[in-house]
């Protein structure tokens, strides 16, 4: 996994350069993009880290770029830099899931702290995403009957009730249930429920 990287998106070269210089002084890697379009072009789900983006740019604005990222399923934390008077727009982005916004001129160290938090959040999310991937793999390994029984288990029904509903023997239910728990790598129904509640 590549080291965490801060993606700086701003059409003002001075800002990009200064931010990069400052982040470097705090031992943070950064990559600069002079427009939102360029950033979107180089984006892929594997790209990690966080985005520091100017709200007002020629061409695509920061807000549009953010929406495009969301559309493409990006989970990158985005910190907006705004000028005076853009606060309402910034609040709207927060509601949409932006990580934070800073009004120019900003306290650089506070920004760096938030960047670090964003990077941490991204890292943990990526870790969590890895868990989700395994649960999905486990779910995919279930047979149709096992999935059927799992949904009934999750609905809190006892084996006897399940056997009656499926018109199979209670023994068969127990076998399927044991296989199911094995495949899902859980020991109890509660554990199963927690696993699926978090990740689906």
């Amino acid at each position: 996994m590549s080291p965490p990287c801060v993606h700086i998106v701003d059409d003002d070269e001075a800002i990009r350069d200064a931010l990069a210089w400052m982040l470097k002084s705090r031992a943070l890697n950064s990559r600069s993009y002079d427009s939102a379009e360029n950033f979107l072009a180089s984006w892929s789900p594997e790209v990690g880290g966080c985005v520091v983006m100017d709200m007002r740019m020629s061409g695509m604005t920061g807000f549009d770029c953010f929406e495009a990222l969301l559309d493409q399923g990006s989970t990158l934390p985005v910190i907006f830099l705004t000028g005076h008077g853009d606060v309402p727009l910034a609040v709207a982005t927060l509601k949409k899931g932006a990580f934070d916004f800073f009004e120019k001129p900003f306290d650089d160290n506070a920004l760096v702290n938030r960047i670090r938090e964003a990077l941490a959040a991204d890292a943990s999310r990526r870790a969590a995403d890895a868990t989700v991937d395994s649960v999905r793999t486990r779910l995919a390994s279930l047979t149709a009957r096992e999935r059927q029984i799992m949904e009934l288990v999750l609905a809190g029904k006892f084996n006897k009730v399940i056997a009656d509903e499926l018109k199979i023997s209670m023994r068969t239910v127990e076998v399927h249930r044991a296989n199911l728990f094995d495949k899902m790598q859980v020991k109890t129904a509660v554990e199963l429920a927690n696993l699926l509640k978090d990740k689906t």
Partner: protein, 699 residues
């Protein structure tokens, strides 16, 4: 001849005596632009009318009196002549009568002597005949002599017993016998009544009684022929002058002696005594020869009088014409005076040497000097400003040389109280009644008030422009703040980075250096923005100095770039190069261009992003440079295009409508033009091009 002399003399006397005629002539000859003092003028006009009437009456009266005197004189002469004629006539008549009487008396005496001789018996028939013949010879008027006895029988008769052509005996007519009786009774000679012979000869008888010792012995009768009497007794010279006739009581002519039949002169009658019996001697004068000469004289006088009247009438007509002309002149003068008095424009006339010959009341009021103080003045004039005397005198000389600006020129004058005022002066040639150029007429307007008003308006305009710039900046504040934030944010970031490095203790100065340099650059960038804003809103007098249009464009682009970025508008700029410096106020041009650019951006609010393009073009022409701003926005409806540049017209919800009107006034201040047209190259089909052009030189 003498009449005309007299007429002229009368005229001269009357005009000199009145003095009015000369006075009037003097007024007529006065220059048309020299008004009289009103009081004198009025007096003169009244006086003139009276004088003129009087003048016309005097010669008429004189002529009438003269003619009356002339006719009186003629009449008197005529009268005297008649009187003289009459007295001469009377004298002559009396003389003639006396002559005739003497003749009768002489005849009477001779007959009496004969009678006494007969009575004494000394005379017989033969002696009677001798004596009678002698008597008849000496007295041709006695035609017959008869001797009658006591019984009235004819004793003797000479030459015949009968009267000529008539068998008329002495006893025939009863008159004779009655006369014989009377003579016998009185015993002295008696004349009988006249009678006519058969050939109509008037005859008269003298009857002389023959008596002695109280006894009457007969009668001697002498028959007088009256015609013969006059023929014999009236001398020839008398008949040259008069017609003499003897008439009876009924004016029947009995005898006449004349050389010319028709007389017409005066006549005189005197009783012919003897023989009496109502006989009268009448003498009539011939019409005198002098009469025709006199008549000629009268005719001449009348003709001359008519001539005099005619000439008087001509003179009267002439004077009436002059009077009418004078009346018209006076009316014209009064009209002109009231016109001059009502004028608020000062009028001043100078002759060719520059001497003031006329000022109107408005000019006097304007300068504070009276008419008397100004008329007759030569340069330097009292209303000239001492500190500008050289310029004023130069302009004065230019005017006299005919080089005054035809559109008038401005000048500072001073009032009597030393106050200065600005005047606008128009000079024109002063032409007299003969078409001669005799000087210069100036109309002078006091434009001090106007100048103040203009100054005030200009100040207000400047204030408005200034306010508009503030408003523009206010509207752009957000963009400008963002623009200013960029370098500040960069500076802050560099700064933080440097501090972070320094905090590590092992900081390498060479690492810090590029950051610090970049900080300086960013500070300059921020400073530039602030300077631009400051320049834009600073309050300054409009000043046309050499100005580089490309700098104006650059500054404006600097202003609007952030906003254009925000609005996703691409800016394009095309400039001809090199651009010359033009005389203009840079700040004002920036204001115009910025306004047009911002309008263009706002017009493209509804344009799709792909077509949001704002283009600035600076084109250099032969004598002007034009700057156009083309947008691809909503365009301008043709019906509101005319109102675009009027103040307080706006299509924006929050606009005040002063931007374009200020732009136009600024462009016009630079003697340029500002207009709007459709953008034919717009891919959206709509769009507007605003263009302003400026002259390359400040003419």
């Amino acid at each position: 001849m003498w009449i005309s002399e007299l007429w002229i003399a009368t005229m001269r006397k009357s005009t000199i005596a009145s003095g009015g005629f000369f006075c009037w002539c003097t007024i007529r000859r006065m220059p048309p632009l020299a008004p009289l003092p009103p009081t004198l003028e009025q007096t003169l006009s009244g006086l003139q009318t009276r004088r003129l009437r009087w003048l016309l009456a005097v010669p008429k009266l004189g002529i009438v009196l003269l003619l009356a005197a002339l006719f009186s004189l003629l009449w008197l002469l005529h009268y005297n002549e008649i009187e003289e004629e009459r007295s001469a006539l009377i004298k002559d008549v009396l003389w003639l009568e006396q002559n005739l009487r003497f003749h009768f008396d002489s005849a009477e005496e001779q007959l009496q002597q004969l009678a006494s001789e007969i009575a004494s018996g000394h005379a017989r028939e033969t002696q009677f005949r001798v004596r009678a013949t002698h008597l008849l010879k000496t007295m041709p008027e006695v035609s017959h002599l008869f001797w009658l006895d006591q019984q009235q029988r004819l004793v003797a008769a000479e030459p015949t017993a009968n009267l000529p052509d008539e068998e008329l005996s002495p006893l025939g007519p009863t008159a004779t016998s009655r006369g014989i009786d009377t003579a016998r009774r009185f015993g002295k000679p008696v004349y009988g009544d006249f009678f006519r012979s058969s050939n109509q000869q008037a005859l008269n008888e003298l009857l002389v009684p023959i008596h002695s010792q109280g006894q009457t012995h007969g009668t001697l009768i002498a028959v007088f022929n009256l015609e013969q009497l006059l023929a014999g007794q009236v001398p020839w010279w008398f008949t040259e002058k008069y017609k003499v006739d003897i008439i009876d009581t009924d004016d029947n002519v009995l005898a006449v002696k004349t050389r010319i039949e028709d007389t017409g002169g005066q006549s005189y009658e005197i009783p012919l005594e003897p023989p009496g019996h109502g006989l009268k001697l009448r003498v009539t004068g011939y019409r005198s020869q002098e009469n025709s000469l006199q008549r000629l004289l009268v005719v001449a006088i009348i003709v001359l009088a008519i001539g005099v009247f005619w000439s008087l009438w001509l003179v009267r007509e002439l004077m009436q014409k002059r009077s009418l002309a004078e009346e018209a002149l006076r009316a014209e003068h009064a009209f002109r005076t009231s016109m001059e008095d009502s004028l608020t424009v000062g009028m001043r006339a100078r002759d060719l040497e520059g001497k003031v010959i006329y000022v109107n009341p408005a000019f006097c009021k304007m300068t504070g000097f009276s008419r008397e103080e100004l008329v007759g003045q030569v340069p330097p004039m009292p209303y000239w400003v001492p500190e500008q005397i050289d310029e004023t005198f130069a302009m004065h000389q230019a005017v006299l040389a005919g080089k005054a600006p035809p559109d008038g020129f401005e000048m500072t004058f001073r009032r009597k109280d030393e106050e200065r005022f600005h005047a606008l002066v128009y000079e024109a040639k002063l032409i007299d009644g003969h078409g001669q150029h005799i000087g210069w007429m100036a109309s002078v307007l006091d434009i001090t008030e106007r100048k103040h008003a203009e100054d005030l308006a200009r100040q207000q305009q400047e204030q408005l422009q200034f306010t508009a710039r503030l408003v523009t900046m206010g509207e752009m504040a957000s963009t400008l703040a963002h623009e200013l934030n960029q370098p500040l944010a960069a500076i802050a970031s560099y700064n933080s980075g440097c501090l972070n490095l320094l905090a590590n203790d092992n900081a390498n100065p060479s690492e810090l250096k590029p950051a610090l340099e970049k900080i300086g650059l960013q500070a300059q960038r921020a400073g530039k923005i602030i300077r631009r804003v400051h320049d834009f809103v600073r309050k300054s007098e409009p000043r046309r100095a050499p100005c580089d249009l490309s700098e104006v464009v650059e500054d404006c682009l600097g202003f609007i770039e952030p906003e254009a970025r925000k609005r996703h508008i691409r800016l394009a700029c095309q400039q001809d190069s090199p651009l010359p410096l033009i005389p203009a106020d840079r700040l004002m041009l920036e204001q115009v261009l910025l306004n047009l650019l911002r309008n263009g951006m706002e017009a493209m609010n509804d344009t799709v992003d792909a077509h949001r393009r704002l283009e600035i073009a600076v084109r250099l022409g032969s004598n002007e440079v034009s700057v156009s701003v083309s947008d691809q926005g909503c365009g301008i409806a043709s019906d509101i295009r005319d109102k675009l540049f009027t103040a307080f017209f706006t299509t924006k919800a929050e606009g005040m409508g002063i931007g374009l009107s200020i732009c136009r006034s600024i462009v016009e201040f630079h003697r340029g033009r500002l207009w709007a047209e459709d953008n034919p190259h717009s891919p959206t089909g709509t769009g507007t091009i605003f263009t302003f052009s400026l002259p390359l030189t400040a003419d």
